[in-house]
């Protein structure tokens, strides 16, 4: 079978599976639409959350990013996993006990204020919209590569599929499709890594291969990549360029941001009780770790193979796959010195670099470099699409429920019936998808890449500290919460906008902290402002204080329905 046929088989088969699952588990009531009736098993929810969490960018670009940045990339590895420890110990068990369907719901009730709810709705929509644009773009790019469609056509097909099962099926529909998507992703990611590890290090476990020796000459893999990097004018892989200050703040901002992302938090409202929440969060992190522990190995192996097969190779003698990636523009060769030989050099070398490629190449090209059979490449393509679709679906759900439940039902029109609420959620998800697809087709230049800093910075400076104080402090009142949130968001947004869009220079950085890490400072500002305002304003009402005491006790977290 040809490569095209294998790709089509895997993608059509996986889509058929998702659609069948979505139809079988579509939602009937708001409870099912928002939280899948709280009857999902901890294991299934763990897989679904892992799929939700790992976006197209994580799946395709993370390994390549690690390969280039070396030690510096540890901030993403630790930040995006360590956040789950905070999430599990400080957030989700208590929010689940509170037994409401959305994050703004908690803010509105705990801080007895429509203002707090509205701020929550705006933050949730903003965070999720910035995220979902990148996902739609990712789907479009993969589709266009595979079926030789235009990117806009790919985006539209992807949006239609997401609407079909997320918009119609709600939380119940997406949970079970995400379980299937996680399985596809995990196999698609680890199988090429195992083959690459075997070929390069003789070890079947990629993580052990990374700390082992090369088969060819017995040199440790990490020493090999360090040598390659210094020889070609890059900084040593195991060292790092970022200052300790920046490493600390960026890692911290990513961690607290992760613990405050609404589309991750709501996933834990789908399990039966508080005990299941803790169990499910543990499964989630374990499933995420499978991919995160493999990523550094994939990156290093692919970089060694790539440089090995391309550097100092005459352009006429390049491997077959090179032209494939050249055609799609993912790799380019420019013969600057006119000798017809590819030279790849880093910034510290004075010779010109002639080879450029994006971070996505390490994952996309590694099966070709390891000369794996076409069906593995087909599986990888299905994995890319699964990663993009699962994240897009989870984000879409938060946007639509924030609009239908928190904005429509709780603020604008309290008379809305259950059925009308579900209908408005579906309409809201259609609207959100159209906006996301528009930006997927016409990405505002490099805007999407920069907005990741926005999403994490906002979550870190708004949701994380405010939820934390709402859960752990009986004394925190609505004035403190609202002022704290406003102060945290304003500071973080202003800092990011100034440096990303208004031409701020690195010399002006506060304590030398980049916009990526500023969310952590925003969080501290939120805490301080909230504490000061709270100290000079009246205590919250007695029933609110009793409610806070009640969420500290795990028992009786509301009814669940069986699936």
């Amino acid at each position: 079978m040809s490569q095209g046929a294998w790709n089509a088989v895997f993608i059509i088969a996986s889509f058929a599976a998702y659609i069948v699952i979505a139809i079988r588990s579509r939602a009937g009531s708001t409870k099912e639409y928002y939280t899948a009736g709280s009857g999902v098993s901890p294991l299934a929810n763990g897989m679904a959350t892992a799929a939700d969490w790992m976006s197209a960018a994580t799946f395709i670009s993370m390994a390549g990013g690690i390969a280039v940045a070396g030690y510096d990339a540890s901030r993403f590895l630790m930040g995006w996993t360590g956040g789950f420890v905070l999430l599990t110990t400080l957030m989700v068990p208590y929010l689940r006990k509170f037994n409401k369907s959305t994050v703004p719901d908690f803010l509105g009730d705990r801080f007895y204020s429509k203002g707090a709810r509205l701020v929550g709705v705006i933050c949730a929509i903003f965070i999720c919209m910035t995220y979902i644009m990148g996902q739609m773009r990712g789907v479009g790019v993969v589709f266009s590569n595979l079926f030789e469609l235009s990117v806009p056509m790919g985006v539209i097909i992807g949006a239609a599929i997401v609407f079909f099962y997320a918009g119609l099926g709600g939380m119940k529909g997406i949970t079970y499709t995400q379980v299937a998507q996680y399985c596809v992703m995990a196999f698609a990611y680890t199988i090429p890594a195992i083959f690459a590890a075997l070929a390069l290090t003789g070890n079947i476990v990629p993580q052990l291969g990374l700390i082992g020796n090369a088969v060819e000459d017995g040199v440790p893999i990490l020493e090999k990549i360090n040598n390659i990097n210094t020889e070609l004018g890059f900084s040593e892989y195991t060292k790092g360029n970022l200052t300790k200050m920046n490493m600390f703040f960026i890692t911290a901002a990513l961690m607290v941001g992760t613990a405050g992302l609404p589309h991750v938090i709501v996933r834990f409202f789908t399990v039966k009780n508080v005990k299941s929440v803790r169990q499910s969060a543990c499964w989630t992190l374990a499933f995420i770790a499978v991919i995160y522990l493999t990523a550094p190995a994939v990156g290093v192996f692919a970089r060694i193979n790539l440089i090995d097969s391309l550097h100092n190779t005459p352009y006429t003698a390049v491997p077959e796959w090179f032209s494939k990636f050249e055609k799609t523009g993912q790799m380019t060769f420019e013969d600057k010195n006119g000798d017809g030989i590819i030279q790849y050099f880093g910034p510290e070398k004075d010779q010109p670099n002639e080879l450029t490629f994006g971070t996505d190449i390490m994952v996309m090209a590694s099966p070709y470099m390891a000369d794996l059979s076409p069906w593995i490449i087909g599986l990888l393509m299905a994995g890319c699409i699964a990663a993009a679709l699962s994240t897009a679906a989870g984000l879409l759900l938060v946007i639509s429920t924030s609009i239908s439940h928190d904005l429509m039902k709780k603020i604008i029109n309290p008379g809305l019936s259950d059925k009308q609420e579900v209908t408005s959620a579906r309409l809201a998800s259609l609207g959100a998808l159209i906006v996301a697809a528009y930006f997927g087709i016409n990405p505002p230049s490099s805007f999407v890449a920069k907005t990741v800093a926005f999403a994490f910075g906002l979550a870190a400076s708004s949701f994380f500290p405010t939820l934390l104080m709402g859960i752990f402090s009986k004394r925190m009142n609505k004035w403190g919460a609202i002022c704290g949130m406003m102060a945290g968001i304003t500071f973080t947004l202003a800092y990011i906008v100034y440096f990303q869009f208004c031409g701020g220079t690195p010399e002006q950085y506060l304590f030398g902290i980049t916009p990526e890490g500023i969310g952590f400072i925003g969080m501290i500002i939120n805490f301080v402002v909230a504490a000061i305002v709270c100290a000079v304003t009246p205590k919250p009402p007695v029933e609110i204080q009793a409610m806070v005491e009640n969420i500290h006790i795990p028992r009786d977290a509301g009814e669940a329905s069986d699936h």
Binding site: S41, P42, L43, I66, Y71, A73, S74, L77, M78, T81, G82, F84, V85, L86, T88, T89, L90, Q207, L208, L210, I211, G212, N213, P220, I221, L222, E223, T238, K244, M247, F248, T251, A252, M255, V271, K272, N273, V274, K275, S276, R278, Q279, A281, C282, L285, A286, A289, Y292, L293, P296, E549, H552, I553, P554, R555
Partner: protein
């Protein structure tokens, strides 16, 4: 002592015991990630045993911390379930 006061102190004791466990978990969380992976990395790279061929601090930053996070959550689950049972707040279900 009235009934309601008794429940309050019972719940308060439970809450303090819980906070102690959380504090312990978060201290370890901080040490394995920020401590080993960032703050003391150079010292650990130079002075600690290597994991395979990887310097200790570097390995902690890229692999070890993630493994520790998973182990931490397993310990957390175990300790929380035991605490809930001890105070009579445990629930049926959630197995799998």
């Amino acid at each position: 002592m009235s009934d309601s006061e008794q429940t309050t102190t019972h719940a308060a004791k439970y809450w303090w015991a819980k906070l102690r466990i959380l504090l312990g978990i978060l201290i370890v969380w901080f040490l394995v990630s920020f401590g080993c992976g960032i703050l003391f990395r150079e010292w650990l790279d130079a002075n600690m045993i290597k994991i395979g061929n990887a310097p200790f601090g570097f390995w902690m930053a890229q692999q070890g911390s993630i493994v520790c996070f998973v182990l931490l959550l397993i310990v957390y689950n175990f300790m929380m379930n035991r605490l809930d049972a001890k105070f009579g707040y445990d629930e049926k279900g959630g197995d799998v």
